[in-house]
Amino acid sequence: MAKTYHRPTLLDHVRTRYFATRLDTAMSVLFGAITLWILWSLLNWAVLDAVFSAADKELCGHDAGACWSVIDARWRLILFGLYPFEEQWRSAIACAAIVLVTALSCVPWFWNARRLPVLWLTGFAVFYVLMAGGYFGLKEIPPQSWGGLSLTIFVFAAVAIIGMPLSIVFALLRRSELPWIARTMGLVIDTIRSLPLLSIMFTFAIVLPFVLPGWLIGDKLYRVIVGYALFFACYQAEIIRGGIQALPAGQEEAAKALGMSYWHRISYIVLPQAFRNALPPTINQFVITFKETSLVVIIGFFDVMASGNAAFGTAEWSFAHIEVYSFVALIFFVFVFALSRYGAYLERRLAVASR
């Protein structure tokens, strides 16, 4: 009798994967039940038994559900920190501008050494003018009063904008044909990478003002950002250098043989390919950088984490820390998840282009 091939159905798949032996069946049933139970409890807590509006605060605690009233009542504090209440629309638009710029960077039309920097600098300028004010009749608001999510986004975007070009310069210097330049750069990079980020932030925020001339000191926030950007650049420089080293030597030779100058070779042949090679670790670096912005709390800034703490800091809401932390975690998750999905998309796209 001739055997005919059946395409396995979903049912076949489930049977062979999860119910092949008696032990498999027992395990599948047990862990399936536990998973269902956890999901059900979560759903109960977060949605079914939860209280959502601030007005219903009295209902909190009667059922075992979450008390989202605290978010309803305090979301402005979490998102905008101590930014003056009646000016918070500016903070909201500013954040939206950065999110928009991030979204636009996903459009291939912008992927070019001129358009991408222009896009980011424009977005950042809009963000800054809105946040700081002092122009166009906007009330001036110093960085000390910035806070919440908008501060986190500000620190992240500023670090990326300063750190990225810096990292390219570092990587190129470290590959310099002059040994003393290459070695000095290597020493600087390795030194900074061996220091904890926290100590670098402290140094820039607290120690530097004693050493720098007055006109160079600037606001504490900017010093922290510069320190963070330096730290970012050292890690990112090594990532880019790895991407460059993965290129076959023939690429630069072919460009040389065509008469292309150093800068043309770097900007048209070496860096575009190095970035492709280095894309996964670069996205990873951005994710880490976004999460670690929370460290600015320690220097006395009021990022989204700190304003979350403040949100349940009053006696009235002190019971609701789980809800607040869940909310803050959700914010981080949305950003980080979007970033890593975008990275995966880029990788797929570039793989098609170079196949």
């Binding site: 023939g250 072919a254 460009a255 043989a257 008469g259 100058s261 492709r276 170079s354």
Partner: protein, 248 residues
Amino acid sequence: MPATDTAVRIADMDKYYGSFHALKNINLDIRKGEKIVVCGPSGSGKSTLIRCINKLEDYHAGSINVLGTELDDNLDHIDEIRRETGMVFQHFNLFPHMTILENCTLAPILVRKQKREEAEAVAMEYLHKVKIPEQADKFPGQLSGGQQQRVAIARALCMKPEIMLFDEPTSALDPEMISEVLDVMVSLAEDGMTMVCVTHEMGFARQVADRVIFMADGEIVEQGTPEQFFDNPQNERTRTFLSQVLGH
């Protein structure tokens, strides 16, 4: 000053890799329009020699003059010479992140300052010449080895060089693709291009070369017309080498 019909003049040239003496007292004049085939056993310095002509490798003594320009440490001289010499590599070295057309137009636009339309027209002309105009919008990774090498030749030609250097252009190719690349090189020779080819394709050498140069241990051991070289080799090492590559 070399005569005006001299394309390349190499005089008393030495090259070291560290303490290893890779090229020993090389003297070589190449006339404009001349086709030279360089052969010799592996490690004899053939690649090193032609890579010195466009300064992909430094040399340490003697002099090299290309089209009247002295090849020294002056960056302008190096740029000038690289603009006028095209090179084709064993492993093609196409830019994988650019389409075939972009591979061909990049250097003319950046280095020769051509307009994009003009550069594209020239590129299509040369892609026709190497018989793959229909591949212009593909990426190198989508082409066969033979096609990639033909693109590499077209890319070099788009710079309108006076001299073409080939470093074993067919030795990374599957046998059935070798002839399509050699055909392009033959037609280039017929157009009067000055060519220096490192190759073990002895049929090509017989058909096209004006002069065959045999190298061993960093020295030019013997040179002559293909007839002299193949039918009446003088040096013992040449005879040994020929019996190996020709298989008798």
